[in-house]
Symmetry: C2
Subunit: 298 residues, 2 copies
């Protein structure tokens, strides 16, 4: 049993380049000067032949075409066993619409996330006679692929943007934004693509892990405002930044984690430029900057 | 004024390759032996700088990244003025979720198609304060980009798969499946990616057109059953086939149309193989087989 994780998409919602963005990173990606990155998704397996996908990004068709281990093994035989969702954000659920095609798999999500799907009849494109929607409760281990267990836990976050009301709690602890504890044999790995705050509970949980994929949305909280392309801070979007005293670099500094990998990076994040000083700083702190197609085995 | 049409995606729903399909065409596309094709969408312009997109496919992010005329012209300035939908099928609407990003454009659709969107709160991701949803009635010309008029007309078809009830009328004439009459200066062009039957009304309408993009879903009606990958005929899906006495090759044979281009081709269609006898036959009958990135100007 070897745990394998393959980054299908390393970018946050919008991807790199984002369709309507003329920021420095997006222009560099369009011209091929830095690597383009698709939207947030991770494929995981404990045996190399049966796979689960964590979050179904809008780019899933391209991501699967580019990923040989996920190709059909027969006319309609697939290595995909399940899809698990960590929130109801569009960058994590829109790809479900691509997975319509009468292909059996299990869709795992918390009651709060299943409710979001149930509220949109378009997701009935995943025919209930072939796609089993399995509700997963927090802190209950579930086998999402042979030999691979996933346990969901609450992470400070918010409801999806398209469900926001007049007031928004950005550090809500519930089942709308979750992290995933993956266990395969002796390996403990974590996947947390969205996190507003690394509280004491999370710190205790992650300490000692072999591998953590973590929210790398922004380098600094006001990055989108500085770039002139948005009004929102990272905090308002429910994401802690990498840098600064409240950032993830500082928060993980005292934790014992075997391998730390940033995922879910917004197109404005300077670490997406391989030669940037910000990437060098993150790497010096022991982080790997995730990118499309990167595979990590333990 | 030159009318320009650029095929963003030439394939039907699922694309080529389709994520879960191991048919001959999908395998050839994965190995690079025949060109891959993304899902159904057409970009049109009357001035080369302002564009409308007809149908928002799930692949729209990749399609726009691959299409220089649709790239941002500034930090958040875009050549995209509008999106027009011809039905509520997933391959034509899922891309709307990608177009979230507080970017202004107008979304044109019939009352029947707008109703489908309204029934799914996830589409509120297209914030109503920046994306104007304009209801277009049949047979009323609307300017969808400068100098470019679109008139929608009813085409025999059916409701989207995910809204089908126990009985399905596949030649319904209403506003759920429409064709588009495009006018730019002296040019008359038509876009009909889904059509169950070329009735007398349609024949009269298309006769004399400079350019027609037409439903090329299947080569023959029972093609998916023969390939062992589906239970449905083309007729059941609301699509007339290319070949046979009821097919589009025969139906267009007596019409006077300047240029005929097949789009919306299913992954099983043999015309997707450049060297196939079926493609040769369609070409001999005066048809162009559409493909991603193909541009046609009049």
């Amino acid at each position: 049993m070897t745990f394998r994780a393959r980054i299908l998409g390393a970018a946050a919602g919008g991807g790199l380049p984002q369709w309507n963005c003329g920021c420095e990173n997006c222009n560099l990606a369009r011209s091929g000067d830095i690597p383009a990155q698709t939207q947030s998704s991770l494929a995981v397996s404990a045996n190399g032949t049966d796979w689960a996908i964590l979050n179904a990004s809008p780019d899933i068709r391209q991501q699967m075409a580019d990923c040989p281990v996920l190709h059909p093994t027969g006319l309609r035989e697939m290595p995909l066993r399940s899809v698990l969702l960590t929130n109801g954000d569009i960058d994590h659920v829109a790809g479900l619409l691509t997975l319509r095609e009468m292909q059996p798999f299990t869709l795992y999500a918390t009651p709060g996330i299943q409710e979001v799907l149930d509220g949109n009849p378009i997701f009935s494109a995943l025919n209930a006679s072939v796609v089993d929607r399995a509700t997963v409760h927090l802190d209950k281990p579930t086998e999402i692929a042979p030999g691979l267990s996933a346990t969901l836990f609450s992470v400070p976050g918010k409801v999806p943007l398209y469900l926001e009301g007049d007031t928004v709690q950005t550090d809500l602890l519930g089942d709308q934004t979750v992290g995933v504890h993956l266990q395969a044999g002796e390996t403990d790995a974590y996947y947390i693509p969205g996190c507003a705050l690394l509280n004491d509970d999370l710190r205790a949980r992650l300490n000692g892990a072999a591998l953590v994929f973590f929210d790398g949305t922004l380098w600094q909280d006001d990055e989108m405002l500085r770039a002139g392309i948005g009004q929102k801070t990272g905090k308002r979007m429910g994401h802690m930044s990498m840098s600064g005293p409240d950032g993830s670099l500082a928060a993980f500094d005292t934790l014992d984690v075997g391998r730390k990998v940033y995922v879910h990076m917004n197109n404005t994040n300077p670490v997406l430029r391989p030669a940037s000083p910000e990437r060098a700083r993150a790497q010096a702190a022991g982080w790997t900057i995730g990118q499309d197609g990167m595979e990590i085995a333990t």
